[in-house]
């Protein structure tokens, strides 16, 4: 228990232990705690966590020790194998709970209780324990038993309904997001409970709903519906923000750029800069010449003129490359960003200048891979240096033999009996 351990004063959670029973649904929670210095022990079923089969893979060939998805969200963790569905597995887990500060799990609601390992049981063993359950819909309510997918959590959060073309189906971000956000939300919840525990000595049970953590992705549309009964709909490259469509996505010669089309009535100065730029390029709609841009007569700005501004800027963008366009936009004080791909990201100068990438050694593959580095810079308690995700059961000996004192001979028996 933390109080009896030598606290590591370099990190926030040094000396704390988390037992991480999650699959892909909650991996990011333990990942964050590990980054904060906790000893996160991933408890995998014998044979390994099913999330090890999620693509992409190192070298493109599926292998449980080569899932890049698994690598990404299990850095700095340890791994033991344990079958919780056996009495022996339960007894061992209970021993580990005595030494732990956190338990994180993402089983179907009711599963842990069925193994005799629900919160009340763990609380009885270790009243300081913070137990975090990360599930698609939470532990209560009519949907709690629903069969889940990341897509479904996104779909039911309102976010997807708003993303995509109006005449086509709603879409999600192609790198699934719901489980990652749920895991991060779980980490906040866990830290909140941790803070309380450290002040009062009391642990508690944390019930995280992945869908609810996604619900905030659609914040503007809900009051709009509640107040006016109006449904915000998806609108492709436009953003339907205040009942109006505003273009935010601009294709150019070799890609696209994001910026918000300025409204002439609200921001005539920004518009003037565009007009001047277009004039330089010889793309200018005749109707703009009639406007005195230094003192525009707002009454004369019809929706049609606003539309003409949009189509002219679209034409302007198409004559420029992404870097030319970005350069021009920034020079004119327009907030904009290129639509970056992973390739662009890995070449980004800002990230390099901040020394963001962290080389992680994968000795077993003879490789060193640049990972996204610390998620936040902290002067006193920086995120710990990244260490590769564990191999299946890599720390069985350390935890079972060295820590719990199970004789090696018994460890073999446990393996053969399918318990570890």
């Amino acid at each position: 228990m933390a109080s009896e351990k030598t606290r590591d004063n370099q990190t926030v959670l040094g000396g704390y232990r988390a037992l991480d029973l999650t699959d892909e649904k909650g991996a990011m929670c333990g990942w964050a705690l590990a980054a904060l210095g906790a000893e996160v022990i991933k408890v995998e079923p014998p044979g390994g966590d099913p999330s090890r089969s999620i693509p992409p893979f190192y070298g493109g060939v599926p292998h449980p020790e080569k899932s890049l998805f698994f690598f990404a969200y299990n850095t700095n963790k340890k791994s033991i194998t344990l079958n919780l569905e056996t009495v022996d597995g339960r007894v061992i887990f209970e021993k580990l709970v005595r030494s732990a500060d956190f338990v994180i799990e993402s089983f179907k609601p009711g599963y842990m209780e069925a193994q005799g390992l629900g919160y009340s049981a763990l609380d009885h063993i270790n009243p300081r324990i913070v137990m975090t359950a990360i599930t698609p819909f939470g532990q209560t309510g009519p949907y709690r038993g629903f069969k889940t997918s990341d897509l479904m959590c996104s779909a039911m959060s309102g976010f997807m309904y708003l993303t995509g073309d109006p005449d086509r189906e709603p879409i999600r971000i192609s790198v699934p997001q719901a489980y990652a956000l749920g895991g991060a939300e779980g980490a906040i919840a866990t830290m909140t409970a941790h803070y309380f525990r450290e002040r009062t000595g009391e642990g508690q049970y944390v019930d995280v709903s992945i869908r609810e953590s996604m619900l905030k992705t659609a914040p503007y549309s809900l009051p709009w519906m509640e107040k006016y009964g109006k449904l915000t709909k998806r609108s492709g490259p436009y953003w339907t923000l205040m009942g109006q469509n505003t273009r935010v996505h601009w294709p150019c010669k070799d890609g696209s750029v994001t910026f918000v089309l300025p409204a002439i009535k609200i921001n005539p100065d920004l518009c003037r800069r565009f007009i001047e730029w277009m004039a330089e390029k010889g793309i200018i709609h005749e109707s703009f010449n009639r406007i005195d841009w230094n003192h525009p007569d707002m009454a004369s700005i019809t929706p049609q003129i606003q539309n003409e501004l949009e189509s002219s800027i679209l034409n302007l963008c198409k004559t420029l490359t992404r870097s030319e366009l970005m350069e021009g936009l920034i020079a004119r004080g327009i907030t904009a960003a290129p639509v970056n791909t992973m390739e662009d990201i890995s070449r980004n100068e800002q990230l390099r200048a901040r020394d963001f990438w962290e080389q992680v050694e994968h000795g077993e593959m003879g490789a060193s891979i640049p990972y996204p580095g610390a998620f936040i810079r902290a002067t006193e308690t920086p995120c710990v240096k990244k260490h590769r995700a564990p191999m299946i059961g890599e720390h069985n000996r350390e935890i079972y033999v060295d820590f719990l004192g199970i004789p090696k001979k018994e460890l073999v028996i446990l393996k053969v009996a399918g318990i570890i």
Binding site: K233, Q350, F375
Partner: protein, 404 residues
């Protein structure tokens, strides 16, 4: 009133717009005293987002109320030296100073980390910015709409058959950054409580956002494969997407990952012949003929209401869910039963739903209790009760124009 987990935590909150306030929301809901420092001249765009109510400086929007519930508002004129003086008093009072201005702004006010430390040696400064406090681009202007493109989310959203991606609705990085920021902030608070040491936290919303794309980044670094948008397809599940149902703009998300689910699905659709159909019998074949399959599934789904399909598939242990619109969410039985929304009475906007956090703590509630404050609503309360200023002292400041 029940105990709350973060009771006693004091935050001087300079954040504005979305990414910053959403981070502080987690702490406010958890019980921290969050004093939002605003100014009448710069109250933040989100106060005026429709739907809104109130007038002029007192304007309030439902979105602002949502993002800032449980916080207090003090309105300080930072251009006035007496105003800055009040701000410094808040720094002395606080455990945390939070901000998400463009890097350099706080320094301009004399409130950089070095200065804060002089005032309050154990202060925690939480700084959230688009690209971090350092580096050549740190001061480039950014908003959530552009930042999600910069981070790569936009290039990963859209229909693969179209030339262009589609931006994810909203400002997606405004969700990813707060989640990770709050984790470290609470950790730093615990650390401070134990060691007395404060520190400065520098969150780059770009860098935090990239954590949510880590598998795709590793794929590029390792395999030189640049992830592309693929609509709703999954690299392994098939069928996997949203399908049109009867009614106007009604859709059902369906994901099938293995043989068992596929067999059950064919049975439900009354297509037993598909099990032996070389186009669909195996996952690889289904993937190859995915658009044809999607088309055929659509022919089935379009004849049924989405609720019926969801329930039918869920009864057979297949992942399916309504693509919920705002109305669906407000009426969702699960959300209702879990009381995710709290109806709070707002003086200008009336009674409406405020969203909570995605979790429940068994001993310490985290539900929203008070709506987002009206600008300067708590100026006097903060000065008198929290900072302990006398009545005269306070009025003196008012007269000096410290508040707006």
């Amino acid at each position: 009133m029940c105990r709350q987990a973060l009771e006693g935590v004091k935050i001087a909150d300079f954040t504005w717009a979305a990414a910053g306030p959403l981070t502080m929301s987690y702490l406010a809901h958890g019980g921290a005293t969050v004093v939002k420092i605003e100014s009448g001249t710069r109250s933040g765009a989100s106060r005026s987002f429709p739907p809104r109510g109130g007038e002029g400086g007192m304007i309030s929007s439902m979105m602002f109320s949502n993002d800032n519930s449980d916080k207090l508002s003090i309105s300080i004129n930072m251009k006035n030296p007496r105003g800055v003086e009040v701000a410094k008093k808040l720094v002395l009072w606080a455990d945390v100073v939070a901000e998400n201005f463009r890097p350099g702004t706080m320094e301009k006010w004399g409130l950089g980390y070095a200065e804060l430390k002089k005032i309050n040696p154990s202060i925690i400064m939480f700084r959230s910015s688009a690209r971090g406090q350092t580096g050549p681009d740190s001061k480039v202007a950014e908003n959530g709409i552009t930042l999600q493109s910069l981070t790569g989310f936009t290039s990963l959203t859209g229909y693969p058959d179209k030339n262009d991606p589609t931006p994810p609705w909203g400002a997606y990085t405004d969700l990813t950054a707060p989640a990770l920021g709050a984790v470290m902030l609470i950790g730093a608070l615990d650390y401070r409580a134990k060691t007395g040491k404060g520190q400065c936290l520098d969150l780059s919303q770009l860098e935090a956002g990239l954590q949510f794309l880590a598998p795709a980044i590793l794929d590029y670094h390792v395999n030189h494969l640049c992830a592309r948008r693929m609509g709703n397809a999954s690299s392994y599940g098939v069928p996997h997407g949203v399908y049109r149902c009867s009614g106007n703009d009604r859709w059902c998300a369906i994901a099938i990952f293995d043989d068992r689910e596929w067999k059950a699905f064919c049975r439900i659709m009354d297509k037993p012949e598909w099990l032996d159909d070389p186009r669909f019998a195996t996952a690889i074949a289904r993937k190859k003929n995915e658009s044809e399959l999607d088309h055929l599934i659509n022919e089935w789904t379009v004849k049924h209401p989405v609720e019926e399909i969801m329930n039918l598939l869920q009864d057979n242990n297949i992942s399916a869910g309504i693509v919920e619109n705002s109305a669906d969410i407000l009426n969702d039985p699960q959300i209702k039963e879990r009381q995710f929304f709290e109806k709070l009475e707002h003086p200008h906007l009336g009674s409406f739903f405020h969203h909570g956090v995605g979790f429940r703590l068994s001993k310490t509630p985290c539900n929203p209790r008070t709506p987002g404050p009206i600008l300067g609503q708590h100026t006097e309360h903060v000065c008198r009760e929290l900072l302990g200023l006398g009545k005269d002292e306070y009025e003196n400041l008012v007269d000096a124009g410290a508040f707006t």
